[in-house]
């Protein structure tokens, strides 16, 4: 986007590739100068002050923090200043200079963030692809052996099956309950209190939530007092207590409940805002047309927020594909509850096999990417 804007700058004398490369060189030059200068200044100030200040770790830490922020400001101020020196906004070429500077400035300000994000996001992807063709230690080329192993591995198939189960159940349930909660809480006087309560699990970490639900599913031998609420309820009605999270297949659903519990709040908040955005008059028109409250909900309201529902759904879907913490904390993949992310973690840090772990990671990435692209497109459409 910004590339084309530099290319087609209205008063840029020679639009085209030449101008673009000239701008690129200038931008990179200023960026490098700015970063080097800001870092050198920060280091110099730090060492100067360090000789004077007492040798206390806390003081040093605070100093580093302050200097870090100052260096950032210094970079933005300094790089902007440099740009203005190269293209001064005065003189007889003032309009050309302002346009050229405006073409470069976004790159200067975005540059450091883009570079750092690139290092932390793009490099691991490339390295994972490379590692997936190497053996456990990442030193010996094995060709497609990791992929061949994956295709035949029973635990991988179990993880895939469970991931697909999660994929079907959790986004659907969380979006559905979120929509219901949004629709109901909009109409009652204590709706805001109810919303806060439903939203609260969002503030709990997945591991924290798992600990809470571990107590809910807790199992004590028959005859002793059940401290898990689920077994307490079951025994109250005369049933037999169960070790819920060890029941193969069904335990998947008991784990899913945790994520649904967490994500319903998210879905509710977004959908509630969308519901409020529906023009009141379309609802009144439907009332005059004779639609019942239920018909108004699913024939008038839901279709109007369909875009938002899709975004919420896919956002939760992406989250579900990466589900890890809950499974690790609850069962660690035992009793047939393994999922891809946890399986990858197993091979990485327990199996110590970089190749196989990377191969599993790529499978997860391949599943997430298309949904992610669609999700971003849809969200952009909604913003328009």
């Amino acid at each position: 986007m910004a590339i084309s804007s530099t290319e087609t700058g209205p008063s840029d004398g020679s639009p085209g590739l030449g101008a673009f490369f000239r701008n690129l060189v200038i931008a990179l030059g200023i960026m490098a100068a700015g970063i080097v200068f800001a870092v050198l200044c920060a280091v110099a100030v730090f060492s100067a002050l360090n000789t004077v200040l007492p040798d206390i770790k806390l003081v040093q830490a605070v100093l580093v923090m302050v200097l870090g922020v100052a260096a950032c400001f210094g970079y933005f101020w300094g790089s902007n200043r440099l740009l203005d020196m190269i293209y001064p906004p005065r003189g007889h070429r003032v309009a050309e200079n302002i346009n050229a500077a405006n073409g470069i400035r976004p790159w200067l300000f975005l540059g450091p963030a883009v570079i750092i994000l690139g290092i932390y996001l793009v490099y691991p992807v490339v390295n994972s692809i490379v590692l997936s063709f190497y053996g456990p230690s990442g030193e010996h080329w094995v060709g497609g052996a990791n992929y061949a192993w994956l295709a035949k591995d029973a635990a991988f198939r179990e993880s895939m099956r469970n991931n697909l189960l999660w994929l079907v159940v959790v986004p659907a349930a969380a979006t559905f309950f979120g929509l219901i909660a949004a629709a109901l809480t909009d109409r009652i006087s204590w709706g805001n209190v109810a919303k806060s309560l439903i939203f609260m699990p969002m503030a709990i970490s997945f591991v924290g939530a798992s600990v809470i639900w571990k107590f809910i599913y807790d199992y004590r031998a028959e005859g002793s007092e059940q401290i898990g609420i689920l077994n307490a309820v079951v025994t109250f009605f005369g049933g037999e207590p169960q070790a819920w999270i060890t029941l193969p297949f069904w335990n998947n659903f008991f784990l899913m409940v945790i994520l649904i519990w967490i994500q319903t709040g998210f879905a509710m908040v977004i959908l509630s805002a969308a519901l409020r955005g529906i023009p009141e008059e379309t609802i009144e028109a439907a009332v005059i047309d004779g639609a019942s409250p239920f018909q108004i909900f699913y024939k008038i309201k839901v279709p109007q927020i369909w875009g938002t529902i899709a975004v919420v759904w896919t956002t939760i879907t992406i989250l579900v594909l990466k589900v890890f913490d809950i499974v690790l904390a609850m069962t660690n993949g035992q009793w047939g509850s393994q999922v891809l992310a946890n399986y990858m973690f197993d091979w990485m840090f327990r199996g110590l096999d970089f190749g196989r772990a990377s191969t599993i990671a790529l499978v997860i990435m391949a599943m997430v990417t298309p949904i992610m692209i669609w999700n971003i497109r849809e969200a952009r459409k909604d913003m328009k």
Binding site: E281, T282, E284, A285, A286, I288, D289, Q295, P303
Partner: protein, 362 residues
Amino acid sequence: MTALDLKNIQKSYGATKVIHGIDLKIEDGEFIVFVGPSGCGKSTLLRMIAGLENISGGDMFIGGERVNDIPPSQRGIAMVFQSYALYPHMTVYDNMAFGMKIAKAPKDEIDKRVHAAAEILQLTPYLGRLPKALSGGQRQRVAIGRAIVRNPKVFLFDEPLSNLDAALRVATRIEIAKLKSSMPETTMIYVTHDQVEAMTLADRIVVLSSGHIEQVGAPIDLYEKPANLFVARFIGSPAMNIQPARVERTGDNTLISLGGRKTTVPIPSPEPLSGTRCHFGVRPEDLRIADKDDFLFEGDVHFVERLGEVTNVYLHVKDVDDAIVVKLAGVQKYAKGDRLRITAAPEKMHLFSEEGRSFLHI
């Protein structure tokens, strides 16, 4: 037959009363326009007729049936909203068919009615489109079509033209007038703050102000014989000139003193009003330049608006606070500072009591 009968209709939000007991009878096939300034309660009254607002007091009858507790869909009404309120996710066809589909009408019946309405409104080529692919005027026609398909006893329009640009507003106004004449049996109630729409469309106009009816009558009656100062000022543009005066002699003709001069107005007045203060009114378009010594006002021009077809001249008259507006035909060459004498035909003059009631309605 009476299509709509409002008996002492009231509306209050908590302790705040917004509609103070409206009594109104609307006959079958009438085109009624509710007009009034913002916040006068005209839209609230319309929404009460539609059933979108609860009725706090009084009784409402549609076609002889008390509808206070009947839901909107069963009142035999259809409403056209200011923002059109089309269902954005449905095609033009589905928008118009929605009500009948909800009512589980047979498919071929729905098809027939939708196509008939589309034919009237020239929407047939657009039946498969979504509202977002239509222009503002077409959307408005779909909203009207949706109302026609419901085949209502009473049509309700809530400022249907205010979202259209000026040229389209005039065209759509004429469309609505044509639509009404093609459906002489149907009663229409139309809310607007635009007096041109009110004057051109209405059989009868209901002028509302702060929750009261000020006057009900045919457009020309309201223009010629406003019942009170509010209606006199509200109908007509520029607004009627109102000046304080004093009743000198009552009788079949009333003698008043106005700015030190005495004028006879051919309006009868009862004896008790003798010697009281009153308001003298005359419309800008009824004033003309006096060619004799007999004049109503003498003043200095301090502002001139030339609109081509007419010229509005604002006069400063001695001892009078507000400027007197004179609307003269064609382009006039008066300039600031010119001294003018103006007068009006006696039968075009209006008299109002001190409380603002017209002498004709006392």
